[in-house]
Each structure stands twice: as structure tokens, then as C-alpha cells.
């Protein structure tokens, strides 16, 4: 009880210091907006997000190129890693979500997953500390790609029959199509890409804000001279734990994005399911 009393006292002191002390949480602009390195205000403006996206594109490409360039029957170390990565996509994403005839979408889904994953990993990589997908533009473009992909696959393999199945699901009384068809249009062509993009974006932004919050808290608490400094012993382990958690989230979101794209492609490929 005495400790709690001291804690609330020093909290009051901290609050009373006002502008001089207290926790200064940076405004949201400072933690997600980056100044452009060049081309400010133009459409070709290039900032930290662009650099991270470029790295996220180049690194997996070089990795898979080096691993697959001189593929041997008995794989070396690099080829082993690449093969298990592709095997993971095959066993966990393509086969359960699409089926054996979905193997031709494996390169696209692998590229998508690794691009998102490497972009996300910059959330916990020191000196970068910014997930590329915490800005809406990247996830929105990827979701548009997924939309074009599954609509294209449906039209290519099932023709107009795909649109008929998507808009007028069989087994519904005719009068109910007045309600069902608008809902189906909304859910298939609008809510699917929207929720894909928002899921990735909001998860990465939330993780980023979480890490910023605990970093700011830890720095403020260790710099304070009040008895509140003992609370840093709580906030610092939280920062470490959330960093570990974000490692998992970065991978899980990339996996889920690729998995959902595969599910949508699968439903366009086999509409009667």
C-alpha cells in the first residue's frame, strides 16, 4: 500500500511538472510520416518507406535467385532453406486453400508472402524500426493486386459463369436475390480487398505504435529522478516481450495475407465449393 501511495504521489508530481517533465508522446505524424529524400511532393518522391519496400523486393529476389540459380539434386545450405520456404508455402497455403491445380499460383503467392514479410520485419530491425506496411499505400496496392488476380482467375477459368455464381449464388429463392446480390457484390468485390488491406495495415501500425509507446515510456521513466524509476523495470521487459511478439505478428500477417489471397483464388477457381 505504501508503495502504491508513493507511486501515485510521484505520478502527481510528474503530472504537475507539466511542460517541463511528464511523458512526451510524439504525435502520430512523427512516427509514421517520413520526409522525402528527394522529389518531395512529386509522385516519384522517395522516402524511408520506399527504401524499405525496395529492400523487401530485392532481398527475397536475390535470395531465391542465388538458391535456385545452380540448383543441385543434393541441395546445399542456401538451397535447403529456399526449398523448405517454398515447401511451406506449398503445404500450408496452396494445397489446403486451392488444391493441386493451384500450383501455378505458387510463385506469385511466395513472392507476395516474402515481400510482405521482409517489409514487416523492418519493424523490429534496429536503425530502421518502421514496418513498410504501416502506411496504407503498400497494403492497398497488394490488395488491389489480389482483387485483380482472383477476378481474373475466375473470368479466365469459368468465364461469365464465374460472375453468375458470384452475384447470384445458386440455391437461393429468386425473390431473395434483391437482397443477396447487392450483399454479394459488396462482400466479394469491395469488402474482400478492403479487409485484406486494412488487416495488414492496422496490425503493423498497431504494433509500431505499441513499440513506440513502450520505448517512450521506458526512456521517460529511466530519465526521471522520482521514485517512478522503478516502474522502468516493468516497462522495459514489456518492450522486449512486445518486440518478440512483433516478430511473430510480422510473419503471421504475411502468412495470412498470402493464405487469404489463395483462398480467394481458390473460390474463383472452383466456384461451386
Amino acid at each position: 500500500m505504501l508503495g502504491l501511495q508513493a507511486l501515485s504521489d510521484s505520478l502527481a508530481v510528474l503530472a504537475a511538472e507539466g511542460e517541463g517533465g511528464g511523458v512526451h508522446f510524439p504525435p502520430i505524424d512523427h512516427i509514421v510520416k517520413w520526409p522525402a529524400a528527394f522529389g518531395d511532393g512529386q509522385f516519384w518522391a522517395f522516402n524511408k518507406i520506399g527504401l524499405i519496400s525496395l529492400i523487401a523486393m530485392v532481398v527475397p529476389a536475390i535470395f531465391f535467385f542465388l538458391a535456385g540459380n545452380k540448383a543441385k539434386l543434393i541441395p546445399g545450405k542456401l538451397q535447403n532453406v529456399a526449398e523448405s520456404a517454398i515447401d511451406f508455402v506449398e503445404q500450408q497455403i496452396v494445397l489446403p486453400a486451392i488444391g493441386p491445380d493451384g500450383m501455378r499460383y505458387l510463385p506469385m503467392l511466395t513472392a507476395m508472402m516474402f515481400f510482405i514479410w521482409v517489409g514487416n520485419m523492418f519493424e523490429v530491425i534496429p536503425t530502421a524500426h518502421m514496418p513498410a506496411n504501416a502506411r496504407m499505400a503498400g497494403p492497398a496496392m497488394l490488395a488491389l493486386l489480389a482483387l485483380v488476380m482472383f477476378v481474373g482467375v475466375g473470368l479466365k477459368h469459368n468465364g461469365l459463369h464465374y460472375l453468375k455464381e458470384a452475384l447470384f449464388p445458386p440455391g437461393v429463392p429468386v425473390a431473395l436475390y434483391i437482397i443477396v446480390t447487392p450483399i454479394e457484390i459488396l462482400s466479394t468485390f469491395l469488402i474482400r480487398p478492403f479487409s485484406l488491406a486494412v488487416r495488414l495495415f492496422a496490425n503493423m501500425l498497431a504494433g509500431h505504435i505499441l513499440l513506440v509507446t513502450f520505448s517512450v515510456l521506458t526512456i521517460t521513466l529511466t530519465n526521471t529522478l522520482s521514485p517512478l524509476i522503478v516502474a522502468a523495470a516493468l516497462s522495459f521487459p514489456m518492450l522486449v516481450a512486445f518486440t518478440a511478439f512483433e516478430f511473430m505478428v510480422a510473419f503471421l500477417q504475411a502468412f495470412i495475407f498470402a493464405l487469404l489471397t489463395a483462398v480467394y483464388i481458390g473460390s474463383a477457381l472452383h466456384p461451386s465449393h
Binding site: P27, I28, Q92, P96, A97, S195, V198, R199, F201, A202, N203, L205, A206, L252, F255, I256, L259, L260, V263
Partner: protein, 97 residues
């Protein structure tokens, strides 16, 4: 329902005396943003808890189907948490924009 809206109204009207219009707007934004995210998190929280609980039960009963159950579980989680994430986006929009 009426009592909730009354409560929201009471909270957002409870400004300190002498607050300027900008401060009042900030207080209302912060209060309602917190309320929006809190309400949006209730449903998905129950949903994900139920979903993962049932998946664990399925995996315990049939360990050989664990891989398939796990993939389906992640799919279900992705769909369920979308609502909470939209709530989070609303929070950001209310609080910071």
C-alpha cells in the same frame, strides 16, 4: 441502447470549466476514440477466444488433423479480428485526424 447514448453524451459533455473549443473537441475526440475501440474489441475478443478454444479442443481430440485445424483457425482469426482492426482504424481517425 438509450442508456448507452445518454452515457456517451454525459461523458462527452463533461468538460472542465473554461475549456476552449479546441480543447473541448480534443477531449471529446479522445473520449469517443477510446470508447469506439473498446466497444469494437468486445465482439472479436469473444469470437477469437471461442474460436481458438474450439480449435484446441479439436486438435486435442484429433492430433493427426492438427495441421488442417491450425490453418483453418488462422483463417477464422483473420476474419474475426478484421472488425477489431477496423475499430482500431476508427480510433486512429478520431484521435489523430
Amino acid at each position: 441502447m438509450n442508456s448507452i447514448s445518454t452515457a456517451v453524451h454525459t461523458i462527452s459533455q463533461a468538460f472542465p470549466e473554461g475549456a476552449t473549443a479546441a480543447e473541448a473537441k480534443g477531449i471529446a475526440a479522445a473520449t469517443n476514440a477510446g470508447l469506439a475501440y473498446g466497444l469494437a474489441a468486445i465482439g472479436p475478443a469473444i469470437g477469437i477466444g471461442y474460436l481458438v478454444g474450439q480449435s484446441v479442443q479439436a486438435m486435442a481430440r484429433q492430433p493427426e488433423a492438427a495441421g488442417q485445424v491450425q490453418t483453418t483457425m488462422f483463417l477464422g482469426i483473420a476474419f474475426t479480428e478484421a472488425l477489431a482492426l477496423i475499430g482500431f482504424v476508427v480510433f486512429i481517425l478520431l484521435k489523430f485526424v
